[in-house]
């Protein structure tokens, strides 16, 4: 079924076809990698995806504009708010809806908290990939659970918030919640970050495994369509929060985390610094949260004018684009998600050959997959 051609291994020895996945401890979901191995070295790699294809884009065509909201959570179940926001922005742009300022700030706050939880999942996954017994993994999840408690208190759900609405957000944040949230982000979280750094980038064994592994230049990454922290670790300060600000990002003081080495260790450093940077942004958002309405009234049978539009947002994994087309009816004509990991993954056949099996998992861990978004 899958086109996979073996090449001759260097030295003329017979190669080994290794199927990593779809059920394998370190493919983060149901990703299937077909690897052609010469000993422990990868000669040829091909990702086989689609095991989680739920047809979200087709389902969206059968729902009203508001009902699609429910599906956006389920695209990337690790970065739910980013996906909701991308869809909301696309529809609001298409229908010409102005979002109140407080709603934008709330969205930014939740999205940045979500970036933290998403990067914590990456941290958990990557530490498992390099072979810890799950101790850093559990520490990351412990912290993530505390953020999920905030999610639950604000949105009513921990994983599938369905909180943003076209024209605003569904529930306001409770004033009593901001103080513990701020205390957590300003005091506890940086200490947790110290622990995360000590167990990953501070550990000599990890450094020996990651330093100089999978070095890709900025030109290579841009050419192959890679976005997000993977690209930023190679140098370019590409971040849509800075390049095309949306929400409250243009009013915040933050740094686009980059690294100029471009190896696996640099990708870890970038993401770990983004954790701190996101927490710092959240503290600013909490301190300067404006008062006001949280949503504008949008008709239940929303009918955006015929046309289409495309918006790009910075999800924790990279450039998340949403393309919506309307024919003037109450249902989307076309809903398309430009998934960052889909394109990051498409670069893997070009990036992985030549590396050891152990390195392949480290490099692959650097793109931070979430199968829900790749397969949609």
């Amino acid at each position: 079924m899958v086109n996979f051609e073996r090449t001759d291994a260097p030295g003329g020895t017979e190669t080994l076809l290794l199927n990593v996945g779809p059920q394998h401890p370190s493919t983060h979901g149901v990703l299937h990698f077909m690897l052609e191995m010469a000993g422990e070295r990868v000669v040829n790699a091909k990702p086989v995806i689609g095991y989680l294809h739920r047809g979200i884009e087709k389902l969206a065509e059968d729902r009203t504009w508001q009902q699609v909201m429910v599906l956006t959570d389920r695209q990337d179940y690790v970065a739910q708010f980013s996906n909701e926001w991308a869809y909301c922005r696309a529809v609001e742009r298409l229908a010409g809806i102005e979002v109140p300022e407080r709603a934008e700030w709330l969205r930014t706050l939740m999205c940045e908290l979500n970036r933290i939880t998403s990067h914590l999942i990456w941290y958990a996954g990557v530490t498992m990939d390099i072979g810890t017994l799950g101790t850093p993994f559990i520490y990351a999840w412990e912290t993530r659970e505390r953020i999920f408690d905030f999610f639950e208190a604000v949105t009513g759900a921990r994983i599938m918030p369905n909180w943003m609405r076209i024209g605003g957000v569904r529930t306001d944040i409770d004033a009593g919640l901001l103080a513990p949230m701020r205390a957590f982000l300003a005091d506890d979280f940086p200490k947790e970050c110290d622990v995360f750094e000590a167990l990953l980038t501070g550990n000599e064994i990890v450094v020996s495994r990651m330093k100089g592994v999978g070095v890709y230049t900025a030109e290579e990454c841009i050419h192959l369509g890679i976005t997000g922290p993977f690209l930023r670790a190679s140098g370019p300060a590409r971040d849509l929060r800075r390049d095309a600000p949306y929400g409250a990002y243009d009013k915040l003081d933050f740094e686009v985390c980059t690294d100029d080495v471009g190896d696996s260790l640099a990708r870890c450093r970038v993401r770990l610094r983004e954790l701190r940077e996101s927490a710092r942004m959240c503290v600013q958002l909490i301190d300067r949260m404006p008062e006001g309405e949280i949503a504008v009234k949008v008709p239940r049978a929303l009918k955006p004018p015929a046309g289409d539009c495309y918006v790009r947002t910075e999800s924790p994994r990279g450039e998340l684009g949403v393309f919506v087309a309307s024919d003037g009816s109450a249902k989307p004509y076309r809903y398309r998600v430009r998934s960052p990991i889909f394109y990051n993954l498409s670069a893997m056949p070009r990036l992985l050959p030549g590396h050891l099996l152990a390195d392949m998992l480290v490099i692959f861990g650097g793109i931070d997959t979430s199968m829900g978004e790749i397969d949609r």
Binding site: G55, H223, D243, Y310, F323
Partner: protein, 141 residues
């Protein structure tokens, strides 16, 4: 828009429309590959390739980045009787997977594509679900 990009678009017979949210350029199918080769040479980056089913035709939409914050859509139209388009995967490597997805869901065949196979659906699938003619069925309670 940059003058050289504008010039390339006009030379390949694109109909430019800047009244919408983002500038869009409709090009004839024959100029699709050549225009993209030139745009890539001019340094435009690939963002996404997708399609829109217009019943009598399938509209291919390719989103390019003029700068990290500015986007441009280049579109062409494949008639429904002959859903064939030249591939862009040699111009933009990520388009290889994007085109596989368009093929998988719309049935547009990309000529010269290195590996045009099903990507999201199983390899033995025979349907093109994102066509408007594909009806969703309701699961009973």
């Amino acid at each position: 828009m940059r003058a050289d990009v504008l010039d390339a678009l006009v030379r390949h017979g694109a109909v430019l429309d800047v009244s919408g949210f983002d500038p869009r350029a409709d090009v004839p199918l024959a100029a699709w590959a050549a225009l993209h080769a030139e745009l890539a040479y001019l340094g435009l980056e690939f963002s996404d390739i997708t399609a829109l089913d217009r019943i009598e035709s399938v509209e291919l939409v390719c989103w390019l980045l003029l700068s990290p914050g500015e986007q441009l859509s280049v579109r062409t139209s494949c008639p429904d009787e002959r859903l064939v388009a030249p591939t862009l995967s040699f111009v933009y490597p990520p388009a290889e997977y994007g085109e596989r997805e368009v093929y998988d869901l719309f049935g547009v065949v990309f000529e010269g594509h290195p590996d045009l196979s099903r990507i999201l659906q199983p390899g033995d699938a025979t349907i093109f679900p994102l066509r408007r003619s594909f009806e969703l069925t309701e699961t009973p309670w």
